[in-house]
Subunit: 151 residues, 2 copies
DNA sequence: TCAATTGGTTTCATCTTGAAACCAATTGGA
DNA sequence: TCCAATTGGTTTCAAGATGAAACCAATTGA
């Protein structure tokens, strides 16, 4: 779905990612999948999404390799589960969460938290160089791919 | 814009974030802003977005505190610049980029890179506990806010 | 000074979304 | 075992969002 415009050919990896999961519902579905939901009705109840839209989103997420359907275990129905690729969206979820926590809640307003299972410690994202040094955003620059011979 | 549904009241910070920047164009505009673009025409050329849609997005991003307009420096026209809040979207951009690099490019296919300005070293995201231990996604769990008195 | 560019707005056709009705298959309970 | 409810959708249709193009005032540049 989402025909309006495609960035599939873009050299920017962020743009391609948005091409795959950049609509309103897809990432919320993925979030719920991380939260353990697997069934059509669970997603629908959780999100309050129209059923036709949910069906469409589950279909494209599956086509694109973010979700997979597994025949079942206890039931004749199917389950939707995150693929390896889908699980690799975890940092995106954490980043969105961290931004929301910081800016979108009033002081004192309650929200859910992401913690390590065994210790209960908060989970955070760090931006680092490949050799492990933490850096701040303004020290990072994007190096474009050479199109003709310009840097 | 984007009237279809709101998650403003949601207790999940990710959902609220998607409420603010979760449409097709907004994050691409933010990406370009990180890349140094400031002018209406620059965004339009870079994204190939319809002008009415761009105007609408710039307006709501500004209303929501992601961008701000600064009167100018060399010109009578305005500039759009990331606010502090907007700059805090950087980890989201990096996360999307990292996902795209990993899964959305054919082996050998070229893409832009994010590097530290001074050293040229690649920039990556790490998921860690608050005390700095790196952890994997499946060790993290979401703790919901107690609604009535259920955990 | 005059043409081109910028930064939009308006209009309109097309596409997407959402709500509701509908339906076959599955499941759960009496 | 039988029937009702639930699940996992699809179809239909109205309303909303998007995109292209035309248009326009203000700015800039030569």
């Amino acid at each position: 779905m989402v025909k309006r415009k495609s960035h599939k050919g873009d050299y920017c990896p962020s743009a391609r990612s948005l091409d795959v999961i950049g609509d309103w519902w897809s990432l919320l579905i993925v979030r719920d999948a991380f939260d353990g939901l697997t069934r059509f009705s669970e997603f629908q109840r959780s999100l309050g999404i129209a059923k036709n839209i949910l069906a469409s989103r589950l279909r494209t997420l599956t086509e694109r390799g973010i979700l997979e359907t597994v025949p079942a275990a206890d039931s004749a129905r199917q389950q939707y589960r995150l693929t390896r690729m889908g699980r690799d969206l975890f940092p995106v979820m954490v980043a969105l969460r961290q931004f929301g926590e910081r800016h979108l809640f009033a002081p004192g307003e309650k929200h859910s938290h992401l913690v390590e299972r065994d210790t209960g410690k908060a989970v955070r994202l760090d931006i680092r160089t490949e050799d492990g040094r933490p850096i701040s955003p303004d020290e990072a620059v994007i190096v474009k791919v050479p199109e003709t011979d310009e840097a």
